[in-house]
């Protein structure tokens, strides 16, 4: 584990050195591609400028996750409880994923305004699907013998749900949530590109127009760190909650 991390760090180090060296050796202008050292300095020095935008984007992502959970969790349970509902909805849900969400971004701004609502919705739409699918698959993968046991114990739907299906599906759920939170940043930023007054995406567009490419990269750096932090948080939460291993049997 530590070894593979070291290898990854070494690869990152080599790439960064090549980037840094290349920029300096070929004298690439800063407004085309700033070297990584400049990006890091900008990210730190311009923190007072970036932080308020980052806070807005972060809020959009968190609300987007909450929105996605609020829709995906009950829907997954309903689709699991009623296979007819799953058969009826599944084709539409899959088809909805074939629609490029980014193409909807301008429409969402028209419908929901320039405020954070359109960005929350964008982020939510992107996270919704992995959560729904992973949770539903989690419920459905439940061991058949356990289901028989619960049937014999006379457990009703809710009891079986809370004592059996939910704990069983939790590892799947967290896998979906981890995918979700990392791509949530994409939804929020695209929303901000199309029309916003604040947020990291807005900052990127503004800086790009003024050829402040170092600031664009600094915003991307902040965004990546935000995604990593969310991923790490969900990972820790999972370790806390899921202390067992489902034996496949």
């Amino acid at each position: 584990m530590i070894r593979s991390n070291l290898v990854a760090l070494a690869v990152a180090g080599v790439l960064l050195c090549l980037w840094e060296g290349g920029c300096r050796f070929f004298g690439v202008p800063g407004f085309i591609l700033p070297p990584p050292s400049v990006i890091v300095v900008t990210a730190v020095m311009k923190a007072p400028l970036i932080a308020p935008h980052a806070a807005v984007t972060f809020l959009e992502i968190i609300l987007g996750i909450a929105l996605a959970l609020a829709v995906a969790v009950p829907l997954a349970m309903a689709m699991f409880a009623m296979p007819a509902m799953e058969r009826a909805l599944a084709p539409f849900l899959v088809a909805s994923q074939a629609v490029p969400v980014f193409a909807l971004a301008p429409l969402l701004v028209v419908w929901l305004g320039y405020g954070i609502a359109s960005k929350v919705f964008m982020a939510g739409v992107i996270i919704f699907f992995p959560i729904l699918v992973s949770l539903l698959e989690g419920f459905k993968s439940c061991n058949r013998d356990f289901q028989t046991l619960f049937r014999l114990m006379g457990g009703g739907f809710w009891k079986t749900m809370t004592l059996l299906y939910w704990p069983w599906a939790l590892p799947h759920f967290f896998a979906g949530l981890k995918v979700g939170v990392t791509v949530a940043t994409i939804g929020a930023v695209i929303g901000e590109w199309v029309g916003a007054q604040q947020g990291l995406g807005y900052l990127m567009i503004q800086s790009n127009a003024r050829l402040k490419v170092d600031l664009v990269f600094a915003a991307i750096l902040w965004l990546s760190i935000m995604g990593l932090l969310l991923w790490g948080f969900v990972g820790r939460l999972e370790k806390r909650v899921v202390t067992w291993k489902n034996n496949p049997m």
Partner: protein, 248 residues
């Protein structure tokens, strides 16, 4: 009295039972013995209502039931302990699923843990205990069902020989101390002979009763009991199709 009469079941045009009948005396230990793959587990699926029978009736204490799911407890080869609950929480499942009185049940479960040699392990997680202890816990859970009929589907066949021997004596407790009516399926002849009051020999598909033996020798029994040894060779002969000696 449990009566199974005229049960027929087909899967994919293959007949598993045709007109299968069985009756089990109350507070008795009935063991169904048959070769692997003769449809024993399907029989239990039918009894517990997991799969419906094509035809046939089930009666328990004179009352006709669609299946025994609501009157029988069930224990199988796998301990089926939920990995996210401690042994105690697993044992309490039958009470929790029906919103029963958990506090009272906990005292009862505690006494059972002690009786079955699990005292001190109530808080352990299933992966922390051995297969034998897991199966003891499953036995506690089975008793917590609080039902007079217990279906045992090869409950000990995943255990090693030594653990198995001690658990066999615990299974006997179900009959002697807890007054259960027991129906067990197994393919282990010695286990069947040690535990059964009545031994029912089954034929391969379509499954039918090939012979019944009432065992009178007192329990706990010993392997070297001459009556058992004689019966064992007879039963073996029947199961393997050698010897047609029907008198015994």
């Amino acid at each position: 009295m449990l009566q199974v009469s005229g049960v027929t079941k087909q899967f994919d045009l293959q007949t598993i039972f045709s007109d299968f009948s069985l009756s089990v005396t109350e507070n008795g230990f009935t063991v169904l013995l048959g070769p692997s793959g003769c449809g024993k587990s399907t029989l239990f699926d039918l009894l517990s209502g997991v799969v419906p029978a094509d035809t046939g009736t089930l009666r328990w204490r004179g009352r006709e039931l669609p299946h025994l799911g609501s009157v029988a407890a069930y224990m199988q080869q796998k301990d089926l302990l939920l990995p996210w609950f401690s042994l105690m929480d697993n044992a309490l499942l039958p009470v929790k699923t029906v919103n029963g009185d958990v506090k009272t049940a906990e005292n009862r479960a505690m006494a059972l843990f002690e009786r079955l040699g699990l005292k001190g392990y109530e808080g352990h997680m299933p992966h922390e205990v051995s297969g034998g202890m897991g199966q003891r816990c499953a036995l506690v859970r089975t008793l917590m069902f609080d039902r007079d009929l217990v279906l045992l589907d090869e409950p000990l066949s995943a255990l090693d020989a030594i653990t198995r021997r001690t658990l066999q004596s615990l299974l006997l407790l179900l009959q002697t101390e807890f007054d259960k009516t027991l129906v067990m399926i197994t393919h282990d002849i010695e286990e069947a002979l040690l535990l059964a009051d009545e031994l029912v020999l089954l034929t391969p598909r379509p499954m039918a009763v090939q012979g019944r033996f009432v065992l009178k020798s007192p329990k706990p029994r010993r392997f070297d009991d001459p009556e058992l040894l004689a019966l064992k060779s007879h039963v073996l002969g029947k199961l393997t199709g050698e010897g047609n000696d029907d008198s015994l």
